[in-house]
C-alpha cells in the first residue's frame, strides 16, 4: 500500500502540526514502582489542537504516562511543561501538590475508563460537572447550573436526566457525564484513558462521534490512550506506540498504520483474532 504524501493529504493528516509551539512537552520521564520500570526515558510532545493517540499492550506504561500528564503522580526523573496563557513555562513536577491540583482543575480534563474513578456516583450528573466549577472558584448557583447544562449538552447528554445520579445511568451516559465534567472549564488539554472500553460497539461509535465533534468545534487538544487500534485510527492525528515503558515508534497516524517501522508496531497493526 503506497502512502498518499500529497500536500493536501499531509495537511489533512497533520493540520496544525509542526507549525505551532508544542502545548505539552515531556522530557526523559522515568518511573519505577518497586521492581517494575513503568516508564523508561519517555519523551512526548503534543501540539495545540491535535489528537495524540497512545497505543500499546497492557502494562506498556500508557496509563502511567497519562497519569503523569494529569499530574496525579510524579516521575523519578523528567520534566513536564505546558504552554498556558498567563503562565510561565517551568517543570510542572516542581509545583506543590496544591498548585498541581489547581492547575489540573483549570487546564486539564480527564475521562477515565472506569467512571467510578472520575465521578461521584451518589451526586447528580449536573453536580458532578458543577464540582469542577466549584473547585475553580465559581460560587453562583445559577451560573453553576447554566454551565453544567451547557457542558452536558455539548457532550450530547439528555438534559432531561441532568439531575439523575450516574449510578442510575448506562455506561455510555456515564462517559458523557465524565466528558462534560472534563470540558466544563474548557481545558487546554483533554486526556482520555480508554474512554470507550467496556461499551458496546454502537455506544462506542456515539461516544467517538461526540469526541470528534468536540475536537472539531472547540479545537480541544486531546491525548487518547487505547489498546483499540480502530479507535486510535478513527481519532488520532499522530500516534505514539509504547511497549515495556518505552516509546518504540511515533509518527503521523496514517504513516504509522500504513507503514509501521518497528516489529512490535507491525505485530499490532497486523494482529487479527
Amino acid at each position: 500500500m503506497s502512502l498518499d504524501m500529497s500536500p493536501a493529504a499531509l495537511d489533512r493528516a497533520a493540520p496544525r502540526l509542526m507549525r505551532a509551539e508544542p502545548l505539552l512537552t515531556m522530557r526523559d520521564i522515568s518511573k519505577t514502582y518497586g521492581d517494575v520500570r513503568a516508564l523508561r526515558h519517555v519523551d512526548a510532545t503534543v501540539y495545540p489542537g491535535e489528537v495524540m493517540g497512545i497505543v500499546g499492550e497492557s502494562g506498556s506504561g500508557k496509563s502511567t504516562l497519562l497519569r503523569m500528564m494529569n499530574l496525579e503522580d510524579t516521575p523519578d526523573s523528567g520534566d513536564y511543561t505546558l504552554r498556558l496563557p498567563n503562565r510561565e513555562d517551568g517543570n510542572l513536577f516542581d509545583l506543590t501538590r496544591y498548585e498541581r491540583r489547581m492547575l489540573c482543575a483549570r487546564h486539564i480534563g480527564i475521562v477515565y475508563q472506569n467512571p467510578h474513578l472520575g465521578l461521584l456516583m451518589k451526586h447528580s450528573s449536573s453536580g458532578n460537572v458543577a464540582e469542577r466549577l466549584l473547585i475553580a472558584g465559581e460560587r453562583s448557583f445559577d451560573v453553576l447550573r447554566a454551565k453544567a447544562r451547557e457542558a452536558l449538552d455539548a457532550s450530547e447528554f439528555p438534559l432531561s436526566r441532568m439531575d439523575a445520579r450516574p449510578i442510575e445511568l448506562s455506561g455510555g451516559m456515564q462517559q458523557r457525564v465524565q466528558l462534560a465534567k472534563a470540558i466544563a472549564l474548557e481545558p487546554a488539554l483533554l486526556l482520555l484513558d480508554e474512554p470507550t472500553t467496556g461499551l458496546d460497539v454502537s455506544v462506542q461509535a456515539l461516544v467517538l462521534d461526540t469526541l470528534k465533534r468536540l475536537q472539531r468545534d472547540r479545537k480541544i487538544t486531546m491525548v487518547l490512550v487505547s489498546h483499540d487500534l480502530g479507535v486510535i485510527r478513527t481519532m488520532a492525528d499522530r500516534v505514539m506506540v509504547m511497549r515495556h515503558g518505552e516509546v518504540v515508534e511515533e509518527g503521523l497516524a496514517d504513516q504509522v498504520f500504513q507503514d509501521p517501522q518497528h516489529n512490535y508496531t507491525q505485530q499490532l497493526v497486523h494482529a487479527k483474532l
Partner: protein, 304 residues
C-alpha cells in the same frame, strides 16, 4: 498479692480534676487552635467521670480554663436546668471552687451543648461548645487522612457540592444544624450542631469560642473578632430559621430562637430556647429588678 498492693494510695484529685500534664497539653493545643482559627487540633482526650459523647470535650477545656474566681454557666440545648447541664456545672464547681450561675451576663465561662446564648457575650467571657463530630468533611470524605489533606489544600468543593445537591433536590439548603462555615477565610469548620440561627453570633464576636470533641479528640477555636462565614452561593443568601414571629408561651418574649413542643390535639407550642432569657423576662414582668443584656437578635433580626 492483695488488692491494696495493686492500687495506689488515696490522694486528693488534682485541682480542676485533670492532672497538670493533661492541662498543660490542652493549653498548648488551645493556643495553637487560637493561632490557626478553625483548624482542628488533635489532643489526648482524657477520661473524665462521664461517658464519651456527653460533653467530655467541652468539659476538659472548661476544666483547663477554670480557676477559683471563675463563674461557670452550663447549658444543654439552651436550658440551664437539664440533668446533664446541672451535673456538669456542679462537677466543675466541686473540683475547682468556681461559682455557678445561670446568668449569661454573670458567667466568665459558658459551656454549652448545641446553643449560643441569646445575650451578647463580652470580651472577658469564653464560650466552650461541646462538639460531637468536629469534621465538616466527614460526610463527603470518610478517610480522615484525605480529609486532612483537603483541609490543607482548602479543597472544599465537595462541601459546596452537598449544598448544590440540596438545592437541586429540595429547592433550598436543608442543612439545619452544624452549618459548615469558613473561619477567617481559610478553614471550614462545623460549628457543632448549633442551629443556623446561632452561626451569625460567632462572626466577629467579642468573645473567644472553643469547640471541643472529647470522643474524636479534636479541638478548634474562633478567636475574638474573627470572621465566621457560612458557606453560601452568591445568589442564594444564608437564611436563619424563621422564628421571628413566634412567641414564648411561658415568658411571652418573641423574636428569639424557639423550641417547638407538640401539644395535645396536634399543633405546636413554642418556648424560648435560651431558658435563662425566658426566666429573666418573667422576673422583669413580675417587677423583679433584673438585667437583660443586649441580645444578638432583636425582633427576629440579627442586630449585634
Amino acid at each position: 498479692m492483695s488488692l491494696s498492693s495493686l492500687t495506689r494510695p488515696w490522694a486528693a484529685t488534682s485541682y480542676g480534676f485533670l492532672d497538670a500534664s493533661a492541662k498543660r497539653e490542652l493549653r498548648r493545643k488551645m493556643l495553637k487552635a487560637i493561632a490557626v482559627p478553625g483548624c482542628q487540633m488533635p489532643y489526648a482526650s482524657r477520661e473524665v467521670p462521664m461517658a464519651r459523647g456527653w460533653g467530655t470535650g467541652g468539659l476538659q477545656v472548661t476544666l483547663t480554663l477554670v480557676n477559683p474566681t471563675s463563674t461557670v454557666k452550663v447549658i444543654d440545648q439552651g436550658a440551664d436546668d437539664g440533668v446533664n447541664a446541672a451535673s456538669i456545672r456542679r462537677f466543675i464547681s466541686r473540683v475547682s471552687g468556681a461559682s455557678e450561675t445561670w446568668d449569661t451576663l454573670a458567667a466568665s465561662i459558658v459551656q454549652s451543648r448545641h446553643r449560643v446564648p441569646e445575650e451578647v457575650m463580652r470580651e472577658d467571657q469564653i464560650l466552650v461548645l461541646q462538639v460531637p463530630n468536629p469534621e465538616p468533611l466527614r460526610g463527603v470524605e470518610p478517610n480522615i487522612s484525605i480529609a486532612r489533606q483537603m483541609h490543607a489544600d482548602a479543597d472544599y468543593g465537595k462541601l459546596w457540592l452537598t449544598l448544590y445537591e440540596q438545592i437541586v433536590r429540595k429547592g433550598r439548603i436543608m442543612q439545619g444544624a452544624a452549618y459548615p462555615s469558613m473561619v477567617n477565610g481559610r478553614h471550614v469548620m462545623t460549628p457543632s450542631p448549633i442551629p443556623r440561627w446561632d452561626v451569625p453570633k460567632l462572626n466577629m464576636a467579642k468573645h473567644l469560642t472553643f469547640l471541643s470533641a472529647g470522643r474524636e479528640k479534636r479541638l478548634f477555636a474562633v478567636p475574638p473578632f474573627t470572621r465566621v462565614e457560612p458557606l453560601v452561593f452568591s445568589d442564594r443568601p444564608y437564611r436563619v430559621e424563621d422564628h421571628a414571629d413566634l412567641t414564648c408561651r411561658r415568658s411571652g418574649v418573641s423574636g428569639y430562637f424557639m423550641n417547638e413542643l407538640p401539644i395535645d390535639g396536634g399543633g405546636s407550642a413554642f418556648e424560648v430556647s435560651d431558658s435563662n432569657l425566658g426566666i429573666k423576662a418573667i422576673q422583669q414582668a413580675e417587677g423583679t429588678p433584673v438585667e437583660i443584656g443586649k441580645t444578638w437578635y432583636r425582633n427576629g433580626e440579627f442586630s449585634a
